[in-house]
């Protein structure tokens, strides 16, 4: 089999690239290979079950936990700091957009010059101004609702949908921001609104079950890929599910010839030739594919002569501060399932060298759970008293950490429960991380006091790999990274990586809008280069 463009993965990067390529050339020959299965989206029965039990249909496609004493588990964490894989990514058609939260931030201009400003990691190979038009397109593509008047990050055109107003639950933290003089704003969120631009996708109904939206108002890549198939005439677009890519095949050192995958249904190995290959399989799997592809010309893995592939892995430590709100006369309680408040006050050039951070008021800032109280047999009087009385008060956030050579991912020589190569994660946090968190806690303590609450303890911190990045970072040459400014693997003319893996740094914010912008930029590059390489 021979195709024009072969894409490994079916998440937001793959889907955005496919759409842009087909807009230019509806006859383009494109094949997507996805290791996972299809999860039915927008199904009322599945949604209802999630509402009542919290059970999501795609969790069987998460990683298992690392091995424990009494449970075999899978993968390995071999560093000093555990980066949980389970729940951080989903191996299904549509990729991790199946479960993403939709927080849709742009990086700030200084994020593109991390090394110049701080000596850490690498600079991006282009500046914010180069990506800005693509940020606009990415926000349109993902259907982001945001505050177009927000000056936090420069923008050349409005969001496609206007912002969600602050919930009443945001009142304590907004009050604190005003008292302390900290900048704050509306959290840009990928929830479709209503505008004069026609769309086949439904607007958000503020139903509060965003991990499984019954309407498809939160972007899920498989819904958009299905649209491409169902509503358009793209005769040469094809998708193969249950296709586990084993290795790349080369035609000499500088050209990739194709790849080999295993069809999960038949167990057979299938060879596909391609004019060009885009590896869009996420930060970890993209690096692992390059590493386990070891033709004679690349004995250490494709693109890995300088031992850069899989290195420098970073993610966002996500911290949860919990304190007490002495009384709750406004009966603050969760009314939404996504945050509407963010402060990027500490996501600033002044904080960059120490690690920028952002703070949000979560949708369960005051985590009252009515159904649980009633199901637990509490009386109405007890519930009423608990609502207006003392309650927990939460503030969440994320902090930037920097890539280190010794932090890496590699393949393990065994298969996980889905038939894919297991992962070894070797990560150790910087020695100064705990001190930085102590600094952040001082700031958050001030915020709690200004909110009229009290912070009770240190935060809980999750190092889960949701925002993992930088394992194939872009660089001027192969001695520092893996891909060039066009996301082409150094030394291979027709092989690209498009995932968070190419980010030299991730700032303190969610990466998906930046990845989408990069994907659209790559598609334009490929379109400019001609239909085929």
């Amino acid at each position: 089999m021979k195709v024009g463009t072969l894409i490994v993965g079916s998440g937001v990067a793959a889907t955005a690239i496919v759409q842009r390529l087909l807009e230019k050339n509806p006859q383009a020959s494109i094949l997507l290979l996805e290791a996972g299965d299809r999860i039915k989206t927008m199904d009322f029965g599945v949604w209802q079950n999630y509402l009542l039990t919290g059970s999501l249909p795609y969790t069987p496609y998460d990683d298992l936990n690392y091995p424990q004493r009494d449970a075999p588990g899978e993968n390995a964490s071999v560093g000093g700091t555990e980066l949980p894989l389970r729940g951080g990514r989903v191996f299904v058609y549509g990729g991790s957009t199946m479960h993403w939260g939709g927080w849709s931030f742009r990086l700030k201009p200084e994020d593109f010059q991390l090394k110049t400003n701080t000596g850490q990691a690498l600079d991006w190979l282009f500046g914010y101004e180069t990506l800005e038009p693509y940020y606009c397109q990415a926000e349109d593509y993902l259907a982001v609702s945001g505050d177009s008047a927000d000056k936090t990050v420069p923008r050349s055109r409005p969001y496609p949908f206007h912002e969600f107003p602050f919930t009443l639950e945001d009142k304590p933290i907004v009050t604190a921001m005003e008292k302390l003089g900290y900048a704050y704003g509306h959290l840009p969120i990928a929830r479709r609104g209503i505008s004069s631009v026609p769309s086949r996708h439904a607007p958000c109904q503020t139903t509060g079950t965003c991990k499984y939206c019954p309407f498809g108002a939160r972007y899920v890549a498989s819904n958009y890929m299905d649209d491409l198939r169902a509503w358009n005439d793209y005769p040469n677009l094809d998708i193969k599910l249950g296709a586990i890519v084993k290795s790349l095949r080369m035609d000499g050192k500088t050209r990739v010839a194709g790849l080999t995958y295993v069809d999960k249904t038949t167990g057979e190995a299938v060879l596909v030739d391609a004019d060009r290959i885009i590896v869009a399989a996420g930060t970890i799997e993209s690096a692992k594919l390059l590493l386990r592809s070891k033709p004679d010309e690349w004995p250490k893995g494709v693109g890995n002569d300088s031992d850069m592939v899989g290195r420098h892995i970073i993610t966002h430590p996500y911290f949860v501060f919990t304190g007490a709100l002495p009384t709750n006369p406004l009966k603050l309680q969760p009314e939404m399932n996504f945050p509407t408040f963010v402060t990027r006050h500490f996501d600033s050039p002044e904080e960059q060298a120490k690690g920028k951070f952002m703070l949000i008021a979560p949708p369960d800032t005051v985590p009252i759970a009515l159904a649980g109280q009633m199901q637990g047999g509490q009386t109405r009087a007890a519930i009423d008293a608990s609502i207006v009385g003392s309650n927990l008060l939460q503030v969440h956030g994320m902090i930037e950490v920097f890539g280190r050579f010794n932090n890496r991912v590699t393949n393990l020589p065994r298969l996980n429960h889905l038939g894919m190569e297991e992962t070894s994660v070797d990560y150790t946090k910087d020695s100064g991380f705990d001190d930085r968190m102590a600094e952040i806690q001082k700031h958050v303590t001030d915020i709690y006091e200004a909110m009229g609450g009290t912070l009770s303890s240190k935060p809980s911190i999750s190092w889960r790999v949701d925002h993992a990045a930088s394992t194939c970072r872009m660089s001027k040459d192969e001695t520092e990274g893996v891909v060039d400014a066009d996301l082409r693997v150094h030394g291979v003319d027709n092989l690209y990586v498009c995932s968070n893996a190419v980010f030299p740094s991730i700032g303190s914010i969610n990466p998906t809008v930046t990845l989408t912008a990069l994907s659209l930029k790559l598609a334009d590059h490929l379109n400019d280069a001609g239909a085929q390489e």
Partner: protein, 161 residues
């Protein structure tokens, strides 16, 4: 090459049967009783059709729910005959499942877990949550965020007016 694999995993079965009218009536009465027990002021009558559809959805999702509903109807009717409605519903709503892995759930536990507990969740999501002070709730179709229209949840701005 196929777009879709042949083994799509999805639990819905088009062959699943619905609930009988007597079971439906017993379950509806249990659902309605949630209101007086927790002093909810919303009228349940507008939820009647959605409630029936909800039970059908649960059975379609997992056919054992038909047995849960039939079993619950039988046991609840027996209790009502012996103790009356108020005591029966109070005994169901005032407790919670407290079983352990080594101890199988009692019949009352089953009703609380799979029937009355889920009915409570749906009653809140249909609109019962409003009794506790909010304008929106997880599972409630609050409506879209349309510029110039009322916001479908409580906002700081509205509270300041």
């Amino acid at each position: 090459m196929q777009m879709y694999q042949s083994t799509v995993r999805h639990p819905l079965s088009p062959e699943a049967p619905s609930v009988t009218d007597p079971v439906d009536e017993a379950m509806w009465n249990l659902f309605v009783a949630i209101g007086p027990y927790w002093k909810l002021t919303d009228d349940p009558e507008p939820y009647r059709l959605r409630f029936r559809t909800f039970m059908e959805d649960r059975i379609n999702f997992n056919p054992i729910y038909r047995d849960y509903y039939e079993f619950a109807a039988k046991e609840i009717n027996k209790l009502i005959a012996q103790y009356g409605k108020e005591k029966t519903y109070t005994s169901i709503f005032s407790g919670q499942y407290t079983g352990t892995p080594s101890e199988p759930p009692s019949w009352l536990d089953l009703i609380r877990l799979y029937v009355s507990g889920e009915f409570i969740g749906m009653r809140l999501a249909f609109g019962g949550f409003r009794n506790f002070g909010a304008l929106n709730y997880c599972g409630y179709f609050g409506g879209a965020n349309i510029q110039g229209e009322p916001v479908p949840y409580r906002t700081i701005e509205e509270a300041q007016k």
